[in-house]
Amino acid sequence: MTATVRLSRRAFLQGSLGVLTLAVTSSGLVSAARAADAEAPKYGADSMPGGTVDDPLVFVSIAEDGTVTIVAHRAEMGTGVRTSLPMVVADEMEALWERVEVVQAEADEGRYGNQNVDGSRSVRHFLMPMRRVGAAARQMLEAAAAARWSVPVSEVRAVQHEVLHEPSGRRLGFGELAADAARQPVPTADALKLKAREDFRYIGKDKVRLVDLEAIGKGEAVYGMDMRLPGMVYAVVARPPVVGGKLRKFDGSKALTVPGVLKLVEIPAFQGAPAFQPLGGIAVVARNTWAAIQGRDALEIEWDDGPNGSYDSVAYRQELEAASRVPGKLMRDQGNVAEAWAKAPEAERLAAEYYIPHLAHASMEPPVATVRIEDGRAEVWTSVQNPAAAQAAVARRLKLEPGKVKVKVLLLGGGFGRKSKPDFVDEAAIVAQAMPEGTPVKLVWTREDDIHHDYLHTVSIERLEAVIDGSGQVQSWLHRSASPTIASLFVEGAKGQQITESAMSAINMPYVIPNVRVETAEVAAHARIGWFRSVANIPHAFAAQCFIAELAHRAGKDHRQFALELIGPARRIDPGMMADTWNYTESPERYPYDTGRLRGVIEAACEGAGWGRELPEGHGLGLAFCYSFMSYTATVVEVKVDASGEVQVVAVDMALDCGPQIKPERIRAQMEGGAIMGLSLALASEISFENGRVRQSNFHDYEVLRHQASPRVIRTHLVNDDHELPPGGVGEPPVPPVAPALCNAIFAATGKRVRSLPVRTVA
């Protein structure tokens, strides 16, 4: 079967108009017709490489024994997507989950559509395409049965792995119909009949067991780190300790005497901006990982540190603070902040600065890739979030057509944004190229490599200045963000945040304040700045959400009540009205900023936590909220702070409105995990530099939350399971409100403001 029917873009847009109309009816923002205009900009999945594919012949195959094989085209890093998207297909096609097998797709965005598991997009972009895949497969099975029985297709229907003809009581299993169904034409978009919500068997329910659950518990699940091939050799790399540093000279003679060490391979330093290029250095190739590590320890290397050799976190913080106190690049301007500030009496002014250090992703599986080159082709086995980027990097390195590079995606032992960058896959390709043809090379990063050479979360000072009048009304809001930009990864010397960063909780704040100004300071990057789960929302929401609590306190009002008044009544705001022309690439009509939904999660989290209740001595409740990746979140943290300043997290309430809930149990898992990751960065984690080098090296000094510090209670509140709304993200949104909620709770418990992370203890 090679016939494929690709839906035209126009047909796709028309197909989605129903949803669109429902989403904007009451907002009256724009007419739905605008989105159907062929000249309209591409939004969401359509703006991504590969777009979406909803061809059932690509994603579904049925064996004669009735086994339905569904392709999971996106990598599994712990969110459950390898289960949830195939589950959507199974539901729409009436396949029984017990008779479904999930197979993982190789990198091929031309065939499957976009495969970049990043930006909380998997369900957001592929819920509807996967529903269409399943519906088309079901209708092809129904058409095949109707033809077999010579009855109108309207008289048959698929039910639980069979097609029934009710008038005659005849039935045929999916397996018996498979060959005929594959010869049926793929239904066109306007002929597709999607299920009504009440007919869902799996979507929105927790009946389906995770695909990899049992294998994980038995130690049988295969991650990138677990790849094994006959004749495989192992490599570790000694990299320049300073970003942009170069090899001056080295002596590998001792390394080569280590038993098991086979070869040393020089990795060239990157040129221009770092992007996804290797840092450079010397790879030690050996018969096993241990020998490679021992060999690396025996290398004698002199590095030329280059211009970043003086990067120092203490000095850099001062630089950020200074930059935050002078005007920066304008990102949003409304009213006249300068005038409001100048006119306001001192007693009505409030200013504060907030600091979050660099953070490392530290996924439990460090980066790892296996590459074999043979006969002008390369095979790659790895755990990456963006298989197409890995394919492109290897193809470029080996000067091959991308089609000659097969990337097989294994389970990721965590990703959090780190494994979107395939520098480690490129390294493995360089080493494989230096080995005899056909030698599989597994290139392993140790934990020290991971901590020393991560694409770090940025470091930031956020300065906020507000005018709050005698009646507690906020008249003016200035947010100045000073942090190295992700753009510096791709453009040498880039300074100042981009819209893609500012529109993560800095400019897109919907508060009822007449004068608003957001600026970004143009500071240089001295490390590889990457994206870390929820990205710039972390520093922006931390600062803004703590600052709102400070303003509430100044106004003498309850924080929850103050926040709801600041947000104002339920309404849908065109993000463009907040200077947000990015909107996470989504259409402003489909995804307006809905303050009603924001209010909803605040109310749910507060209700769950018993906001306003009497608390024991030393306890405090803190609130924070955020809109990110098209979802609304609020967190209430209860802390206990003892006399020594030790902070204990008693309970966390997490509320999320992501629109339609596809696999609620996995959504709750992401909310729980987001709470823990948020507490980790609030309480424990810090990457700092001295002489251009990362000072931390492993989990003993780059600390993350452990069992003993983990809250006993994490309650999750899912709000607004509405299938008429377009889906929002789930993986990232739980993180940003956690740290500010914690610091607001500490203030409630102690009267002490923490404006710098990690908290460690309250002085």
Binding site: P259, L411, E672, M677
Partner: protein
């Protein structure tokens, strides 16, 4: 040549005496259920049992493991408590990425072997050497409590 007793079977490895058991298991014996997380005994991903004691394979030389009973995650299905813990893990949908879970399970099994009805404090003390970056701690706790409950009630029958 070193003889290792792994999950009741004798396995031979030809490696230097100081090679950590972790790499002998993974690279030489192909037993990849035991994970590499830190290499310095601070994350618990490599937890195995030696003569019934929880041990971090990443810092245990093969010479120290030779001639002793080594149990790994691959052997837990044949272990009464291991099986109960694996089942509790599945029923509580503990795993997210799952990479650390073999080590978490090995530590939990070890805890329940010595402490069949652990208190919250005992669970924290036993488990705090195992990091989970996805943040599955609340479910790990729930799974251990469930496994303990079913072992206790199983014992009464």
């Amino acid at each position: 040549m070193t003889h290792l007793q792994v999950n009741g079977q004798t396995r031979k490895v030809d490696v230097p005496d100081d090679m950590p058991l972790l790499w002998a298991l993974r690279d030489e014996l192909g037993m990849t259920g035991t994970k590499f997380g830190c290499g310095i005994s601070v994350c618990g991903a490599c937890m195995v049992h030696i003569d019934g004691q929880p041990v971090r394979a990443c810092v245990t030389p093969v010479s120290a493991a030779a001639g002793r009973e080594i149990s790994t995650i691959e052997g837990m299905e044949a272990d009464r408590i291991g099986q109960v813990v694996q089942q509790a893990w599945a029923e509580n949908n503990v795993a997210q990425c799952g990479y650390c879970q073999a080590g978490q399970i090995m530590t939990a099994v070890s805890l329940l072997k010595t402490t069949p009805a652990p208190t919250e404090q005992q669970i924290n003390d036993a488990m705090s050497g195992n990091i989970c970056r996805c943040g599955t701690y609340p479910r790990i706790r729930a799974a251990i409590e469930q496994a303990a409950g079913s072992l206790v009630s199983g014992g009464r029958q």
